[in-house]
Symmetry: C2
């Protein structure tokens, strides 16, 4: 006879943002008995397929009060939410990531300064507002807040004058960081999680391939990565999470340059480069994030096999074609197709590296995409 135990209380997690990340968080929560309550200003919320949606702006006081009243913990699925809303919530219930960490992630300048203070190497950078003139070829201005997926960026000519820099800044519409474009060998990222008591779980480093500033493919684990770079990446993300007192999943984007790592940017949330974990790892990043923020033990980050994730961008793939590829897993986000918009992803897991390569090639052919080669431009 099983001893009688109290029924574990149902847990409701509030999420600011109801896009595909919220959708996958909500799906991961259902089997754990975790219900998600999503605050989403847009008319349509992909997360609504498995979560209750509060359709309201992120600073709607009534909606925030409802989150505070009904949730055990609040998290985010997009970084660009008002820090004030998170701070208001954090006075009332646990909020992971904390408003402070979100603020750092929202502001490239603050992020660069924080990375520098932690001794985490990055490409050379400067506050664009403090630039004089004459800087290395390929210097790029990135809007400090609000730009993503290749938007909010401008490239500077080495000969640009102070006035031209000022004009570029004006066009971007806000403060910016000037980054020297490094000739990297490839882009990598590492996804990890930290629990409230400091337990850590780290996934293998993955290789990411971008085009037009949008992630196209992630290859997991990153092929041919030296064990010392894997260890170094783990050290960087663990240090970062510890220093920030972060709780939940965090992704750190990296450049591999001549056998060394440079940090590019951090995201204090589940990350596109971690989508492969749904089928490719024992515990998905989505379940891991929920475990972490709910104070549950973290899950096994071991891989089930070499995996690859391809984003479906702009135009839907035909489900029947994708599902005919052996071992292909389709994830549609329920979003209206629109150019440059991430509307789904496809993951393949191989028994070995060769099969992973073959299956990814088949998926590319089915979806009608060319292979994206690593390119030394962020």
């Amino acid at each position: 006879m099983t001893p009688l135990r109290p029924v574990p209380a149902p847990v409701t997690v509030g999420i600011l943002g109801g896009g595909q990340l919220g959708r996958m968080l909500a799906l991961a929560g259902v089997p754990l008995g975790i219900r998600c309550l999503v605050l989403e200003p847009a008319a349509h919320a992909p997360a609504g397929a498995a979560a209750e949606v509060l359709p309201a702006p992120y600073d709607d006081r009534g909606a925030l009060e409802e989150l505070a009243r009904r949730c055990s913990v609040v998290t985010i699925e997009v970084e660009h939410v008002p820090v004030e809303s998170l701070a208001w919530l954090a006075d009332r219930l646990p909020v992971h990531p904390s408003p402070e960490v979100v603020a750092v992630g929202q502001d490239r300048l603050a992020e660069k300064r924080r990375l520098a203070r932690l001794g985490i190497p990055t490409a050379p950078w400067a506050d664009a507002g403090e630039l004089e003139h004459g800087f290395p070829a390929g210097t790029i201005l990135k809007l400090s807040t609000g730009g993503f997926d290749g938007r909010g960026q401008a490239r500077l000519e080495p000969s640009a004058s102070g006035a031209e820099v000022a004009a570029a800044l004006e066009a971007l519409g806000g403060s910016a960081v000037a980054e020297e474009v490094v000739a990297f060998d490839r882009e990598l990222s590492i996804v990890a999680a930290r629990s409230p008591v400091g337990e850590m779980a780290v996934y293998p480093v993955v290789e990411n391939r971008h085009a037009d500033g949008i992630l196209r493919e992630s290859i997991a684990p990153a092929p041919g990565l030296s064990p010392s770079l894997q260890d170094e990446a783990v050290r960087l993300v663990v240090d970062l999470m510890d220093e920030l007192g972060h709780v939940g999943v965090m992704a750190l984007e990296l450049f591999e340059v001549d056998g060394a790592l440079l940090a590019n940017e951090l995201a204090p949330r589940v990350h596109n480069s971690g989508h492969w974990t749904i089928e490719g790892a024992v515990t998905s990043q989505f379940e891991q994030h929920l475990r972490a923020i709910c104070g549950l033990p973290l899950g096994d980050t071991g891989i089930r096999g070499p995996a690859a994730m391809m984003n479906v961008i702009g135009t839907e793939a035909e489900p029947g074609d994708v599902l005919a590829v052996p071992g292909a897993h389709l994830h549609r986000y329920g979003k209206e197709p629109r150019p440059h918009r991430k509307i789904g992803h496809i993951t393949v897991v191989g028994a070995d590296e060769r099969q992973r390569v073959e299956r990814l090639a088949t998926v590319r052919a089915v979806v009608g995409r060319a292979e994206v080669r690593p390119a030394s431009s962020p």
Copy 2:
């Protein structure tokens, strides 16, 4: 540039029944862009976590009309739905399994007769209404329709008179099949799927351990099963699906007796003994069923590793304890705990058989359950 394609039309699948099977079907549908619309008479529907629920009786004409109007295809998650409702729907849209197959699955006598006609071996049986007196020790009466999880059964003494049989039948409250209890070595099952064009996908045979007539554990693949019995089980379920023209997932429960197989019963739906496929196989039985009934290509049924599934029955397991077991996956159904009620399950997948055994033992200890030994009583 990706060629422009028409957006694949959203598919809505109607499900009669909104319990845990409907819940897991709905969860599997979301990433495929398949929304589920569930008809559930009970006040609370676990499937509601990821599906829209129509709270109405199975024979509610308005609700059936709504299913017919909004769905592309209708399926079931419980067998005991009115065949008349399915037939009404089948006049209007595809229904898988067909009303005819559901009728066979609902009626033990019809099922036994069908198996006999297909030459599929079963334990000796008779229509209890035609029993005289004097029958083998351990003959058991099973209510022909409505009994499940050990309910609706009565054991007959060999010395029972015709009047005693009649009294037992009266107490059961309906027609019944009299089955000779065979001294089986173990209980097995095989889960498979068939598409509308006759494509087949078959999972490995699993070993099932029952107690009090309720499935406690499934071990996948069945340890030490001879290749010839695996092949024989595949042949039986494939023949059965072909003969019935079945579309969707089907489970066939079997007894292993002296190196041979006897069919016990069939279920024309996703099955408890297939829950391990969510993490243990490349394609889960839930996604497989949706693929089959929606006419999508069937998925890979290969295993990711030796797996075991344990039902959580009557009392909730403490999530933190379960999730602390390496590689353990928790599935809570969102149902009120009640004695003998299936309210969740836990799956472990090992890198090898040894690890599977270890992990299952750890889960048993955490949940406070003794190991269930194979017992020669159905």
